[in-house]
């Protein structure tokens, strides 16, 4: 039986609809032209109707998230989820929530698609096992390849077509959706006691540079036709003058499509009395000037959180800086990772600058289709703070109140205080769903046209945007009501999205087997993740180019 959402104001930026009063019909999990006479009617008077939210970058599954859970027992005590109607599994919330709670929390906010962006290939099995337990949302993983020694070796020998085959194989072996690079070369070199600070710095033992790694992988991804372009976490992240590296990396791409992730963490300069400043205006200008580049912000919001990243050296520096607990992981020949709890303090100069830099990126990038709302959950803040962030963007008085509460020294320096832009509901719909879905290459998501997935969020209009986006009146997943008034009413499971490049890996099969035999703890036959790990797989087609 179908569902009709009547009397709502539809905001569907993909079709240019801004608060158009029309009825949305859905049936059999899809948006349809007419749901039929027997459809259930939802009266959305006084509400806006949007597609379900799409989070392009959120660390919710995989080995390092699990270490974050293990490391912070105190984090789990703040919030308990009991088993009750709709919530079929108990769990704990907090910054690194349990799998089921993660799904419930996203659903409560009207999000229906999430992407775990940093899974080392060896951790893919674990990540898929966790994703299988995250209800309410569709999900996908990105595989980490920027520190793979296999790629380094092919690069040093200039065997680009073998890189294509390797990536083709690894996408299939990990059932991933796209590729992410974290600190290209740097995380690996740190294992060799070297630190990478420049994109043209040679890697020791491998005759290659971060620039070559990024370009080779970006070209391979274009050749394979992966739906989402390269998802890049730059070198030198989180330190003063990191913005220079970000700009250099963007220039190195020479027009190739690129997604710079959590750019806020790369937006720091070294000017000012404290040798730490926000250079977000320059990066925003760079994004405005280069149409091949999209970003997500990775906004910092004040409070305690746990930082989780594959950037092992950065986490080590953070640990040295804060004296906080530290976990460091070495993922064989593939990558590393680190976990450090962190407390973003309103009174801290540096944290205040970070907070402002993220908002500046949001407000200074003109085209909302190329900036997406994230907090790099949980690195900047846990995802449950999105409604608060939305209000900061939409309400300049609210923002001004918060500027007054940050470190006074930082408040005097930041460009943010001169910015009066307010996001409209239409723009919010772009940065939280339509734009992100488009950049992910998900043609059935982020919009409400006929044929789209029937993932819909209905928000009751209120001047308090935080309240409005925290508790949607209805959330529908695959054409079923799954949450009402911010409470999950029905547990459903979404699909796992993956790609299957057609390139194959015939040429490197023997070499790979030898490499695994020599350097891996895992047998190559046990390495690939089978489709049985994806309870509801959905294959997203690659747009293959003919020339190699």
């Amino acid at each position: 039986m179908g569902i009709r959402i009547e009397n709502g104001e539809v905001i569907d930026p993909a079709h240019g609809e801004n608060r158009v009063r029309r009825t949305i019909h859905m049936k059999d999990g899809r948006i349809v032209a007419d749901a039929g006479l027997d459809a259930t009617v939802i009266d959305a008077t006084g509400c806006v109707v949007m597609a379900g939210g799409v989070d392009i970058h959120t660390h919710v599954a995989g080995p390092k998230v699990n270490f974050a859970r293990l490391m912070r027992p105190e984090d789990h005590r703040y919030e308990h989820v009991s088993r009750e109607d709709g919530y079929e599994r108990s769990g704990t919330g907090g910054v690194a929530a349990t799998t089921y709670t993660t799904g419930y929390r996203y659903c409560e906010m009207g999000y229906t698609t999430i992407v775990e962006p940093a899974v080392p290939p060896l951790g893919a099995r674990h990540a898929h096992e966790e994703l299988a337990d995250i209800p309410q949302v569709d999900k996908a993983i990105f595989t980490l390849l920027g520190n793979s020694e296999i790629i380094f070796q092919y690069l040093a020998k200039g065997e680009m077509s073998k890189i294509n085959e390797y990536i083709s194989w690894i996408m299939d072996a990990t059932k991933a959706y796209s590729v992410k690079i974290v600190n290209p070369g740097g995380a690996n070199m740190w294992k060799y006691r070297a630190d990478i600070h420049d994109i043209d710095q040679k890697l020791c033992d491998f005759d290659t540079t971060p620039r070559q790694i990024v370009l080779a992988i970006a070209d391979a991804m274009a050749t394979l036709g992966l739906p989402h372009p390269l998802h890049l976490h730059c070198n030198n992240l989180g330190v003063p003058d990191s913005y220079k590296t970000a700009i250099a990396t963007a220039e190195a791409m020479e027009g190739r499509p690129l997604h710079l992730t959590h750019l806020q963490f790369s937006s720091y300069g070294a000017s000012g009395k404290r040798k730490f400043s926000s250079e977000a205006p320059r990066l925003a200008q760079m994004v405005n000037d280069n149409r091949n580049i999209t970003i997500d912000v990775g906004q910092v919001l004040f409070g305690k959180t746990t930082t989780i990243t594959a950037d092992g050296p950065f986490e080590f520096h953070l640990h040295k800086l804060t004296g906080s607990k530290w976990y460091n992981g070495d993922v064989e020949c593939e990558d590393g990772c680190g976990v450090v709890p962190y407390d973003y303090k309103r009174t801290s100069f540096v944290n205040s600058i970070q907070w402002a830099a993220g908002l500046e990126l949001f407000l200074l990038i003109d085209d909302p289709w190329r900036v997406y709302l994230t907090t790099d959950h949980p690195n900047g803040a846990p995802f449950i703070t999105y409604p608060h962030l939305i209000r900061l963007l939409m309400d300049k008085d609210f923002r001004r109140e918060h500027v007054e509460r940050i470190s006074a020294e930082a408040a005097a320096e930041i460009p943010l205080k001169t910015l009066d832009r307010e996001y409209t509901l239409y723009e919010i719909a772009i940065i939280t769903r339509a734009g992100a879905a488009k950049r992910l290459g998900l043609v059935n998501k982020g919009h409400l046209g006929v044929g789209a997935d029937a993932d819909v969020a209905v928000y009751r209009i209120s001047p308090d945007y935080e309240e409005m986006f925290a508790k949607p009146a209805w959330v529908l997943k695959d054409g079923e009501v799954v949450a009402k008034e911010g409470k999950v009413t029905r547990q459903v499971f979404g699909r796992t999205l993956y790609v299957h490049p057609e390139r194959g890996f015939a040429d490197i099969k023997g070499e790979l087997a030898d490499f695994f035999e020599s350097y891996y703890t895992v047998n190559i036959n046990n390495y690939p993740v089978g489709l049985e790990y994806l309870p509801r797989p959905e294959l997203i087609p690659c747009q293959v180019k003919q020339n190699d």
Partner: protein
């Protein structure tokens, strides 16, 4: 006075975090009976387990063996709770004010993360008195805990402020990771007192073997110690009269601003 009497000894633990003056002081006996408690994985009410008598008051008396009743006085901020028998885990955790008196023994985490108020325990305590829950970086941040009997391991671990007085012995690691505050042990302290302490004072009346990261620096006789002991005397304890204390500074593995004062006696005798 609100009188709660446990009707039947429990074999399965109960979470009674609503048994506080904050929650019960303005409720009639019928309303009190309807308050939620969790018993194992079941949602029950106070009336299922307790006889409720008395009139509206900020004073609660609990009779019966409540060794399996957890979280009595959790987050209480005023009034008084008198437990006539034993109490379970987490008694007085996160308490900010008021007074809890327990005639029997308690399980672990007595006064964990406590912020203010007074807990007076006449029997023995479990481990982690005034401690921090796992992962927290600060335990007790204020208030006073007096234990007339013995206490278990890690008494006052991660303590940040406040006073803990132990009339009997403690287990190992008293004052581990202590940030500040005061612990007085009238009996014998276990091994590795003050391991990794940063600041704060641990006052011991009996010799014990200290960690090598504590270094002795003088013998003191200070009014501050006498004031603390006088305070314990008003709380019903029986500390010795004025004396001299050997001062040890540590833990040298941290910033070493903490001190362990050991009452002067037969200094050369080291207890195994």
């Amino acid at each position: 006075m609100i009188n709660l009497t446990l009707m039947e000894e429990l074999s399965i633990p109960m979470e009674a975090d609503l048994v506080t003056p904050d929650n019960l002081h303005d409720k009639s006996n019928d309303e009190i009976r309807r308050q939620t408690v969790y018993w194992g994985n079941k949602k029950k009410t106070i009336g299922d387990f307790f006889q409720v008598e008395g009139e509206k008051s900020d004073r609660i008396t609990i009779a019966g063996n409540c060794a399996k009743v957890k979280l009595i006085g959790h987050k209480m901020s005023f009034g008084a709770v008198h437990v006539k028998g034993n109490a379970g885990y987490n008694t007085g955790s996160y308490m900010t004010g008021g007074r809890i008196t327990i005639d029997g023994n308690t399980a672990d985490y007595l006064g964990a993360m406590m912020e203010g108020g007074l807990i007076h325990l006449k029997g023995n305590a479990g481990h982690f008195v005034g401690g921090a829950y796992k992962g927290e970086t600060a335990g007790m941040t204020g208030g006073e805990i007096v234990v007339e009997g013995n206490a278990g391991h890690e008494t006052g671990g991660f303590m940040r402020r406040g006073l803990i007085g132990i009339g009997g012995d403690t287990g190992d690691f008293a004052g581990i990771f202590m940030l500040a505050g005061t612990i007085v042990v009238l009996g014998r302290a276990g091994e590795r007192v003050g391991a990794n302490m940063r600041r704060g004072s641990i006052i011991l009346m009996k010799q014990t073997r200290l960690l090598p990261s504590f270094f002795q620096n003088g013998v003191v006789s200070t009014p501050a110690v006498e004031m603390i002991l006088a305070r314990l005397r008003t709380l019903g304890m029986n500390p010795p009269s004025a004396g001299r204390y050997v001062r040890h500074t540590g833990d040298a593995n941290t910033i070493a601003r903490g001190e362990i004062l050991v009452r002067e006696g037969n200094r050369n005798r080291v207890e195994a």
